[in-house]
Point group: C2
Chain length 424, copies 2
């Protein structure tokens, strides 16, 4: 336990003084405001802003935190994020806040409601874990053609649905849709019904920051300056809907019903001490095309878990332990590739990493892989699962461990499965 401005920070808190993530919260009936969190204390940044405490931050506009999204702040260029973060650290570490200010700005996390931290202009999902792509490839095409020919040459990605990105805690209704009538023969057509193979995908998402690239593509250097921070992400997936619909234009109703993200954006600066080689080692076979080459190719050592709690259980049971290092293409490479065609990237855009699977079966990031396409049962406490059941709550967590205590973590990314709505 450490203490800071009268705030107690438990040793196992995701929100140490080294973190200072940003989010959007509301207190009772007040409108949503930008905030940070230390231990279990949420700090209303609009109060500190109004008190003039950020006036020394070079380049920071006025009234960016008394808003219902972080977009205005995130649109600033990276030097402003860095200077602001330093100022925030200084305010707390040097205990510069007066008691009346603390009283006005501090709230216990139990008393606030978290909202989506950004207005997401566009949400993109990648497919950048080699282990995940290989597992899916083996299941659907066999071992010899597991990876598609393009996979090692570019970060495969597709556009997702931004209207259904929800913040942690939002319930997820089991989707209905079209299911292939005969599992082996697509020519038999389809039936309408609730998804029977509901799944999660353990992902992280990068939040894009900075001004839009209206004049063309980004260089690798520019892309790195535009990765504002990260959240955990559950890309809920209806495997049976997906199987029937995805050829040739990709997943659609199988994915667009819900995506859940954790509420606090951990800034890239907070993750830099945890820079680590990717589990893929180097990208030498093949070497990526020049525009995709990252001279400091690496990832972050972020320990990730997925747990399930059924309706009759009293706590979540961990079913997978993975790590963000298990990514072949990193967020800067994803962003460069996204913009290579001239695509405009705006502050608040969300880039899902793709399912984060490691090499061992206990590190797979989806039920599809953990149950190996439903061929085996996965232990969830004293129950078993192949896919998700109604009433299951899926809880994803992630953190970086600071060597001498303390954490930089993400808080929960959780959602409960509600029964299908079959009114149609």
């Amino acid at each position: 336990m450490t203490t800071c401005c009268g705030i107690n920070i438990p040793d196992d808190s995701d929100f140490s003084l080294s973190n200072l993530p940003l989010g959007v919260v509301s207190f009772q009936d007040a409108p949503p405001r930008c905030a940070t969190i230390l231990g279990n204390t949420v700090i209303d940044l609009s109060v500190l802003e109004e008190a003039g405490l950020f006036e020394t931050v070079p380049g920071l506009s006025c009234n960016v935190f008394n808003q219902s999204t972080l977009n205005s702040f995130i649109e600033h260029p990276r030097p402003v994020w860095r200077a602001f973060r330093q100022r925030l650290h200084e305010l707390f570490s040097q205990e510069q806040l007066s008691s009346p200010l603390c009283a006005a700005a501090f709230h216990n996390v139990q008393t606030v409601q978290c909202h989506l931290p950004v207005s997401i202009g566009d949400y993109t999902d990648f497919y950048s874990s080699r282990e995940h792509a290989t597992n899916v490839g083996i299941m659907f095409r066999g071992k010899d053609n597991a990876l598609q020919p393009n996979w090692l040459h570019l970060p495969v990605g597709y556009h997702g649905r931004s209207s259904t990105v929800f913040v942690s805690g939002h319930d997820v209704v089991r989707p209905c849709g079209q299911l292939q009538k005969d599992a082996e023969d697509p020519n038999q057509g389809s039936v309408y019904g609730p998804c029977r193979l509901l799944d999660f995908e353990l992902e992280m998402a990068a939040v894009v920051g900075g001004p839009p690239n209206t004049s063309g593509p980004l260089t690798m250097e520019q892309a790195k300056e535009r990765v504002f921070g990260f959240v955990l992400m559950n890309d809920w997936s209806a495997r049976d809907l997906q199987k029937w619909e995805y050829v040739p234009l990709g997943p659609f109703t199988a994915k667009n019903f819900a995506t859940t993200i954790s509420p606090w954006i951990v800034m890239t600066a907070a993750l830099e001490p945890f820079t680590a080689p990717t589990s893929a080692g180097k990208q030498e076979d093949p070497v990526p095309l020049e525009y995709l080459q990252d001279p400091t190719y690496s990832s972050y050592d972020i320990c990730l878990t997925v747990a399930i709690q059924s309706e009759v259980q009293t706590q979540p049971h961990t079913i997978s332990t993975s790590n963000f290092k298990n990514m072949y293409w990193n967020p800067a490479q994803q962003l460069v590739h996204h913009a290579v065609s001239g695509c405009i990237m705006r502050a608040g855009d969300l880039l899902g990493s793709g399912t984060i699977s490691g090499q061992t079966p206990d590190s797979y990031g989806s039920m599809l892989e953990l149950s190996w396409k439903g061929s085996k049962e996965v232990n969830v406490g004293d129950e078993v699962r192949k896919f998700l059941k109604d009433g299951d709550t899926v809880v994803m967590r992630g953190h970086c461990q600071i060597p001498n205590g303390g954490r930089v973590g993400f808080g929960d990314c959780s959602g409960k499965v509600l029964p299908a709505n079959t009114k149609l």
Copy 2:
């Protein structure tokens, strides 16, 4: 020529009194405002609103037209759109506007700048012309497997990129990206370079209106009430980028560099007199699943053309003449299917129809089909094309003809191809 409130409406104008489409324009340095258009006269709706002329419209909120997008207006439920449209018609047909009001509200179309009419939360593109899907299928998979097994059972669609939807007149830079090195052998990998097979896709897009369906899917009846109106759309496509990247998650950089729409949203009510059977006839083989059945299955008789004007030519040359009737799945079916999983549809969402190809080669909606994958030349005045060249301006037009004169049309959907930016 007819005259209305002192406005001359040429007989061949897209914007007769039967149309009254909505858009967003700016005059000199003033901020963008909502507007309608009659002949060549743009009418600033915020001026009429401020004069209290819409106060009799039941349910219409205040200050919806002095905004830079139509979203506030479009979020109203359908009865409000209808009552507003009726009021607008009444104001002009009964010549109820005073001279000072006309002076304040009327602008020659040459003096205004058009903007995107809506803020697009999410943009989706479908693939709903049977002829187009069949043509593409024959080219890439042969005649026997032309249509994928799911195609006749659901409107195939995918999520697109909303950040690069531009209004007519915006230049389109030829995209760069990854191209398969050897056309026959994907295992040889890729090279970086400018797209060589740049294409257009002739489409229309439905604009979603009404309040979001936060409580679940839409019925067919509800979906119909949420189609606010239509624009023309050019879904610019880089065929070589697409070929290399699209398996298994769909097109990405091949599409996300630009999509162009026409500036004026023609309301569904204005198109209803032009309701027509689809060229597919009935959907009997197979009959769609119940949720996709439209008891009044039909389309609109909208004549569509695509023309190209090269940099040295003085006018556009028509290369394709198609019709919106050439769609197998209609917008209500697309919307119902989009939301079947519970996907939330918001006012301003854009639903591209998919390339609109008819049965004859002169009605194909893309260069890919017109040049049959580059195997033959397409005449463009005294030049020829297989795909688009730098300097080409692509102009799409569409209109419904009123039997005794006058039109309900869309104005131009045009864009000029600029040379690639190869700075990377």
